[in-house]
């Protein structure tokens, strides 16, 4: 491990989230500030202890520089700040970059914070349209491509190449709904069956409504600092960033090198190498789940099962309690909440809470090392972060 490695250099010492789901009358800035206040309380710090802010854009907010607008709203003047944009992968990159900024001396205490109000801040059609705006205006959008479509075409090809079935994809939604039922505040908690998913109506084949993630309001925030400062502060249960990796394979869906093997292979390989752990060492995972088939492909590309076996892995109970890698134990984007780009921050919140042993009846026993994988833009962007307790260092 080189001296420049981030392994164990930064720790997460505070976490917080706003109410999620339908939160009318609250702006993205309020949701972000609400989460940030809670994260600071959790860390035992004051807002003026924060000297770095990392965030991402909110569709329902007029500010291009969300991290800057947030700081004004929150009444702080940080000396390190950025509004990052690599779509759904941004969440993971905020942790990787935050750790690097701390390690490199650009900041001492970094607040990672993001939010959006896609459910009540935009009409449903505008929410969808705002997501399709991210496709190419010349080469993709004129053909009427919903955000689900690029992901649907990858899942469809996966079915063709590996025999993955609609039932196996539906199983992801069923399992995660069961997880959400045990998560206070989750947006959708009513039990569903495979038949419910298959009969929920087409969105874009092979995806039905219940194969697709939610549209939500919500925000989450995290306090990062150096491992050394975490010790000085006497943080109760710091969770360390053990490894980070990213991969950007294309911009346009038609230039994706393979529809069924993604940049998650390389992003996770880099994160595992930095952490000094492999997929078999993970106790819990947050796997980006904008659609059910996405989870199946990611379980393969993150190394939890061989390529093509993801459907059988899920149907065999391997992504839930008692299986190889309990994943999205809060319910994920499919059932907990999905306020757009910040969505994967809730996977971080959950994995960190699991590693702290704070998950009550949904606690994964003995969880010490976990992984979060964020992705976006039809698999164009992939970022992986590996987290661990003091024991994992």
């Amino acid at each position: 491990m080189s001296d420049s490695s981030l392994r164990g250099k930064a720790a997460i010492i505070g976490i917080g989230m706003s109410p999620v789901g339908k939160v009318p009358g609250r702006s993205p800035l309020w949701l972000a500030a609400n989460a940030a206040k809670k994260a600071l309380v959790d860390a035992g710090l004051e807002k003026h202890d924060v000297d770095g802010v990392l965030s991402c854009h909110a569709f329902a907010s007029p500010f291009h520089r969300f991290s800057v607008a947030f700081s004004e709203y929150f009444g702080i003047q940080p000396t390190f700040s950025n509004t990052l944009q690599v779509s759904g992968a941004t969440a993971s990159t905020m942790f990787n970059i935050g750790a690097a900024a701390i390690h490199g001396g650009l900041a001492k205490v970094v607040l990672v914070v993001a939010s959006d109000s896609l459910m009540t801040g935009l009409t449903p059609d505008l929410a969808l349209r705002s997501l399709t705006e991210s496709r190419d205006q010349q080469y993709e959008m004129p053909f009427g491509i919903p955000v689900a479509n690029t992901f649907a075409m990858t899942a469809h090809r996966h079915m063709k190449e590996f025999g993955t079935t609609a039932e196996q994809m539906a199983e992801v939604a069923v399992i995660q709904r069961r997880h959400a039922a045990r998560t206070p505040g989750a947006q959708q908690t009513a039990p569903i069956t495979i038949d419910d998913v298959l009969n929920s109506g087409w969105v874009t084949t092979p995806y039905h409504k219940l194969d697709c993630s939610l549209i939500s309001d919500g925000g989450a925030a995290f306090i990062l600092t150096s491992a050394e400062h975490a010790r000085e502060l006497g943080a109760a249960k710091p969770i360390y960033i053990l490894g980070g990796g990213e991969c950007y394979t294309h911009e346009h869906i038609f230039l994706m090198p393979s529809l069924t093997t993604t940049g998650a292979v390389d992003s996770s390989r880099r994160a595992y190498a930095m952490a000094g752990y492999g997929p078999k060492d993970m106790h819990v995972a947050g796997v980006y789940d904008c659609f059910t088939g996405t989870v199946i492909m990611m379980l393969e590309d993150l190394g939890f099962c061989p390529k093509g076996d993801g459907g059988r892995f899920v149907a065999g109970g391997q992504m839930t309690y008692g299986g190889q890698i309990p994943s999205n134990t809060h319910g994920g984007l499919l059932s907990f909440a999905h306020p757009g780009m910040p969505g994967s921050l809730f996977h971080f919140h959950e994995v960190i809470a699991q590693l702290r042993g704070q998950c009550g009846e949904r606690q994964v026993p003995g969880a010490e090392i976990g992984l979060v994988h964020s992705l976006g833009a039809g698999f164009a962007t992939n970022a992986t972060t590996i987290l661990g307790t003091e024991n994992s260092l």
């Binding site: 505008l126 969808l128 349209r129 705006e133 010349q138 993709e140 004129p142 009427g144 479509n149 092979p206």
Partner: protein, 139 residues
């Protein structure tokens, strides 16, 4: 921020310096691919230089228009009000005979007809006085 009025209109491509020839070609009924004179890479997405070797020695040649469906998805819930009346429609990824892959939509038949590896041919479909879209029908 986007307005409700914007959401009702279908997006129309605005050609840029790199893509003007492509859209002009489509108006004339041909799909122009860029052929690199140095490394022989063929690209559909129009750039001022070759994506493989960086050479600016590129020439346009009309594609045969023949291709095969690599993957597809039939859209039932449109991305906003502008496409609602068209549903269901099939979005397709087509592997052109010359090598490049492109995204398009199926025309001239029912979306349920589309299958993996189906042979398709180019149809240049005008959508207004200025713009023609490259779509595909069954071969």
């Amino acid at each position: 921020m986007i307005s409700s009025e914007d959401a009702k209109r279908k997006p129309v491509p605005t050609p840029d310096a790199d893509s003007a020839a492509l859209w002009r070609g489509l108006r004339d009924g041909v799909l122009l691919l860029q052929h690199c004179g140095d490394c022989h890479n063929v690209q559909y997405y129009q750039q001022g230089m070759c994506r493989e070797c960086g050479s600016e020695n590129l020439s346009h040649r009309a594609a045969s228009g023949r291709g095969r469906v690599h993957s597809f998805s039939v859209v039932h819930r449109a991305p906003g009000p502008a496409f609602k009346a068209d549903t269901p429609y099939a979005v397709i990824l087509v592997d052109l005979e010359e090598g490049p892959r492109m995204i398009s939509s199926y025309t001239g038949g029912r979306p349920e007809e589309v299958t993996f590896d189906m042979n398709v041919v180019l149809v240049c479909e005008p959508i207004d006085d200025d713009t023609t879209l490259p779509r595909f029908r069954r071969a």
